[in-house]
């Protein structure tokens, strides 16, 4: 027994002494929380990193470093020269890409993030409308430190479905899948705050178009099933009085039905939305069942029309960000799928949207 204990002690002391070179002292580490990338006109990268400060003696809440380099890892070496901290990537939560880079394609700059085992595949990816570095360098007085602010903003909004939760794993998965194109949220510096400004649509790894912030819920309905969320529907027609319905506690279910006859593909997208209505500005009486049914039909029609225009936008830019291709692929068989160039075929596919809204309650008063 004594021998065994001795062996175990020997084993641990051997391990501990052997790892001396790899020891990390928490106070000496600069744990990058958010990093941003912009492409400069000369092809160089402008990289910014935001590092929360653990040192109680430091007055600043974070350290922000910006360097210009030809690639990301070299950028890190250059950054390291500017700080007393040992920079580590294990705690990165967000990677922001400037629009300049997104338009050229971001995969080659992402490769290092997925290759580095210290970086989580759950790292969130976003596009910044404008300069990503400028946004990250800026302090927003009314809000927590910028990196944390962005992280919480993205987390909260994705839980309300206004933007998709895009991680490096989900982005790359959609990039490599031939039946869907990747998307990311777009954020924008609004002066005193940061705003979610829509969804970026990618053709392979290149940004090509965006869905405006007001329409992101329509995109969420079309993209898949979800629970939780709210939407304000503008029901006013031209010349009419203004009419708005605020739908909350959304539970949306999507069913895709693909038919394939004589080389013709037709996709029917059936969406059923259960919701509560908590605010309505208009002439209908929502506590009256007939009026409520009428309202349900009007909201359904309006949302269906909006969904149709969104599909038209996707077709115009030849991006299947909804993943309709995956459903088509599974329906038509491998040989037919491989024969087809989905990107070219997608604009010609007939997509029929059918949205049905059911108001399950209308608040506490009649």
């Amino acid at each position: 027994m004594k021998k065994a204990i001795l062996c175990v002690i020997l084993c641990f002391s051997l391990t501990a002494s052997g790892c001396a070179a790899d020891s990390r002292i928490l106070e000496d580490l600069g744990m990058v929380q958010t990093t941003s990338y912009d492409l400069l006109p000369d092809g160089m990268l402008s990289i910014t990193a935001s590092i929360p400060m653990a040192d109680p003696e430091a007055s600043a809440k974070r350290e922000v470093l910006t360097v210009v380099a030809e690639n990301t890892k070299n950028g890190r070496i250059k950054m390291s020269r500017e700080t007393q901290l040992i920079l580590v990537s294990g705690q990165i939560r967000n990677a922001l890409y400037g629009l300049s880079m997104a338009k050229k394609g971001i995969y080659r700059y992402m490769d290092t993030l997925i290759r580095d085992p210290s970086i989580s595949p759950e790292l969130k990816i976003s596009i910044v409308e404008g300069n990503a570095g400028e946004l990250l360098r800026k302090d927003y007085d009314q809000h927590p430190r910028t990196g944390k602010y962005i992280d919480h903003l993205l987390e909260k909004e994705s839980s309300w479905q206004t933007i998709p939760r895009v991680t490096i794993l989900s982005f790359l998965r959609d990039l490599f899948d031939d039946g869907i194109d990747p998307i990311t949220p777009i954020i924008k510096d609004m002066g005193n705050s940061i705003k979610i400004n829509g969804i970026a649509l990618f053709q392979d790894d290149r940004y090509v178009a965006k869905i405006p912030a007001d329409d992101t819920m329509i995109f969420a309905f079309l993209k898949g099933s979800f629970k939780e969320g709210e939407i304000n529907v503008d029901l006013s027609e031209n010349g009419d009085k203004k009419e708005y319905a605020m739908l909350s506690s959304l539970v949306s279910g999507r069913k895709l039905k693909v038919s394939y006859h004589n080389q013709q593909i037709k996709v029917r997208c059936e969406i059923k939305i259960m919701c509560s209505i908590l605010e309505f500005l208009g002439d209908l009486e929502i506590s009256n069942e007939q009026d409520r049914n009428k309202l349900e039909r009007r909201i359904s029609d309006k949302l269906t029309r909006k969904a149709d225009s969104m599909i038209a936008l996707l077709k115009q830019h030849k991006v299947d960000s909804l993943g309709l291709g995956s459903a088509v692929r599974n329906k038509i068989g491998y040989a037919n799928w491989k024969k087809m160039n989905w990107r070219e075929e997608f604009p010609h596919v007939e997509v029929e949207n059918k949205i049905k809204v059911v108001i399950k309650d209308f608040g506490e008063v009649r």
Binding site: G90, R173, D178, R329
Partner: protein, 363 residues
């Protein structure tokens, strides 16, 4: 040879089989399935498992015919020792190297996450000391330890439920084995993920009829099959076959779903739990190597055998330094082990048939 008074129980053998089969391939099996078989490659875990069951049937026949005699006794009854001893040495070398390199692969993967510049041999020696302390206790105690290790790791399989929301069945596609690569190499790679069950050939003297050895081994193997299939469906459902082809160790990326709000990458700590399953794999291979050399040098104490085996394999394992090299060598050794897993029971059945005929003749 250490004679045990107590025999292995059904439950212990079942758990032990599962634990030996759970090595380092578990980290990369879905990558291998996607790389070699493409769409729905996870189904290969099922097909390969059926081939393993055929192999287990052969071993079951040997077990039934042997009447509890060890395979070495059966071999030595018909084949002269001067032929057998080099074979025993070869088997011992193969088994100890498999055990040793499994541990080395574990260490090299571990070092991608932590202590990247420390010499891998520091960790390797530490693991080998633990393995030595366990292997000298004999197979009965190893099986008891493996039961404890089993319960400290099996819960991790339930973590897949954390990822349920992200699983989309349409990513599995409706196509079977499209966009894959070399399917034969793929089959061998997946078969290697199952090896370890064949060590049940050496358990004959340590069990009795109550153990129901082969049933226990089969159940252990079926548990492993079930979890490989579950892992396959989850990995394909989350990542899709194209991304899986790119990810070398998809299981480690799936662990990223374990998240704490205040710290990232906490899942890397969970990697440490896999040391338990790896440890049982290497201990059992060292034990098998020791069983083999004990026939050649029966007078030497078993602990001396294990010490020499572990030391020799440790020295040889310093040769491959890169993860890629280790993977390549392990693949070759794994292939050799597959051949032995089929060949040995066939030879034993033939010998037992000859021995039975001789008894009948003389009788």
């Amino acid at each position: 040879m250490t004679k045990l008074k107590e025999k292995l129980s059904f439950f212990h053998v079942m758990i032990l089989t599962y634990m030996i089969q759970t090595g380092v391939v578990v980290f990369s099996i879905t990558h291998l399935e996607a790389l070699h078989f493409g769409t729905n490659g996870w189904l290969m875990a099922l097909f390969t498992s059926l081939v393993v069951l055929v192999n287990l049937m052969l071993i079951a026949i040997v077990h039934r015919m042997s009447n509890g005699r060890s395979i070495f006794e059966i071999l030595e009854k018909s084949i002269p020792k001067f032929i057998l001893f080099p074979i025993y040495l070869g088997l011992a070398a193969l088994w100890s190297m498999i055990g040793c390199l499994v541990a080395k692969e574990y260490v090299l993967i571990f070092q991608m996450y932590a202590f990247p510049t420390t010499s891998p041999m520091v960790f390797k020696v530490a693991i080998d000391i633990l393995a030595f302390l366990l292997v000298i206790k004999g197979v009965y105690n190893i099986s008891k330890a493996s039961t404890v290790f089993f319960f400290s790791t099996i819960w991790m399989n339930l973590l897949v439920f954390k990822a349920l929301d992200d699983i989309k069945l349409e990513r599995l596609t409706t196509f079977l084995f499209k966009e894959g690569g070399d399917m034969f190499t793929g089959f061998l790679n997946i078969y290697i993920a199952y090896i370890g069950y064949e060590l049940s050939l050496l358990l004959f003297p340590y069990v009795n009829k109550k153990t129901k050895l082969m049933k226990a081994v089969m159940y252990g193997h079926l548990i492993r099959t079930f979890f490989y299939l579950m892992l396959g469906i989850v990995s394909y459902g989350i990542a899709g076959h194209n991304l899986l082809k790119k990810m070398l160790f998809p299981l480690l990326d799936l662990l990223a779903y374990i998240k704490l709000p205040f710290i990232e990458r906490v899942e890397n700590l969970f990697y440490g739990f896999f040391l338990f399953t790896t440890l049982i794999t290497l201990v059992m291979y060292y034990w098998a190597a020791g069983e083999s050399t004990l026939r050649i040098f029966p007078k030497l104490k078993s602990s001396v055998h294990y010490f020499v085996i572990i030391l020799c394999s440790l020295i040889v394992s310093t040769v491959p330094v890169a993860l890629d090299q280790v993977l390549r060598v392990l693949y070759l050794l794994g292939c050799a082990q597959i051949v032995i897993a089929f060949l040995l029971p066939v030879i034993l059945i033939l010998l037992l048939l000859i021995q039975r005929r001789k008894v009948v003749k003389h009788g």
